[in-house]
Symmetry: none
Subunit: 232 residues, 2 copies
DNA sequence: AATTATAAGTTGTATAGTTGTATAGTAAAG
DNA sequence: CTTTACTATACAACTATACAACTTATAATT
């Protein structure tokens, strides 16, 4: 087998072992050619294969960068899970983990601007991108305001569609907080990531056109696979 | 007598007269074929005989290189690459293939007797004897214990000298394991040997006078050119 | 402190030269 | 008739070198 192909396989192995991480630069062609003891053109031929696969891309004068194939999840005024994913030509899917109706906690009541004696509906879902579970969401919704929410959501599996049926034609973000957490074993299992993998956690409120809060929710994103693109 | 055999004898005579010295290149096949007035394939046939004898080695795209014969490499309590070679009146040279700082693997941490969370420095070098690359070494050194190791080594190109500067005046082998491997195309290219040529692989630990491991390393020797002389 | 030159390093491209390999053909020897 | 030695040609793989285009870091200048 030709040398350039062997080098290609060697580099591919390094990449899959995360020796060179997405977004980072590879050693320069000069350094690589020394490492493998070949001419620069031979290295370039190996790299070309990886470029063709979309794993690497190069910038003249700058270097060779490992392609960041993390999904770019847009967060702005109007955040729509399915649409976000369809826009990037990926396939979205939502599955329900559990639901629960109980009294609102102090924080929940405050954020939903409801009386703390009122009941809320809690829904936990997993969002899949191309069949890979990468997003976990926990929603708190006023059960008094939307008593039929869960029944409809269970069929629609979409917040946007459910709200439309309930007469809310549009809604948007009041605010979004982003923090980082480590995945515990339960989350790791649900989200198909390793224990202690970094998770991006967003806490936010969606409100209707009258500025009344609809949901107070939290969403966890697997950091290795998703990057949040903040829009203004 | 056939032409190719006569050319072979003529070239062999030139080689033994040191007309072409070890480490140097022969004239190209094109030039030789013109000189002897034969087709390139005929020259190649002559050269093949010399390659079989281990006197010549060819590199695609580069040329044909003159090699030395078998070198005796001593392995005992105190193994010193340069000194070993100078003692036999040969010229040693070390070139760096690559260096890398990363977390220790389980085996590396165990052999260096360090915590597996610590970082290690990896250095890969090629050792040349009379300008013929024959030895490849991969060293693992605690980056915590010797944070400046690579900077110094890069200038000194000698483990002994580097350690002396770092305050380690002497070191010796804890143990040496010898196994055999086949050269893959990358190694064969680096070490100027044929694919599948046998390589002697030594795995060893060098420790200081307090018996603390300094380096956990592996060295590959081209079996055709180097024999290991084990001392007790 | 901010801006501008300068230098050094990186990738892209072009050209020429080298060895490896495959195929086809000729001539002589057994 | 088959094998061996040798020629002829072509292409693939790899090296060597040079230069252009571009980026980045550093030094110099304002």
């Amino acid at each position: 087998m030709s040398i350039y192909y062997q080098i290609y396989e060697s580099l591919k192995k390094d990449l899959s072992n995360n020796l060179y991480k997405p977004g980072e630069k590879l050693p320069s062609e000069k350094v690589l050619s020394k490492r493998f003891g070949v001419n620069r053109h031979t290295i370039r031929r190996s790299l070309q294969l990886l470029k063709n696969e979309g794993i690497l891309f190069s910038k003249r004068g700058s270097g060779i960068i490992v392609h960041d194939n993390r999904f770019k999840y847009k967060i702005g005024k109007r955040v729509r899970f399915s649409q976000n994913i369809l826009n990037e030509n990926y396939i979205p899917e939502t599955t329900i983990l559990r639901s629960e109706i109980r009294k609102a906690s102090k924080i929940e009541a405050k954020n939903l601007e409801i009386n703390s004696k009122h009941e809320i509906l809690l829904i936990e879902t997993i969002g899949k991108i191309n069949n890979v579970p990468s997003i976990k969401t926990k929603r708190i919704i006023s059960n008094k305001r939307f008593p039929d929410f869960f029944d409809i959501f269970q069929k629609q599996l979409s917040i946007t569609k459910t709200l439309k049926i309930l007469g809310v034609n549009d809604f948007f973000r009041k605010n979004t907080l982003v923090t980082a957490e480590q995945a515990d074993s339960i989350q790791a299992n649900l989200l198909h990531c390793k224990i202690n993998s970094p998770l991006l956690k967003t806490t936010y409120i969606n409100q209707d056109l009258n500025l009344i809060p609809i949901e107070y929710s939290q969403t966890w994103f697997v950091g290795e696979r998703i990057q949040l693109a903040l829009e203004n």
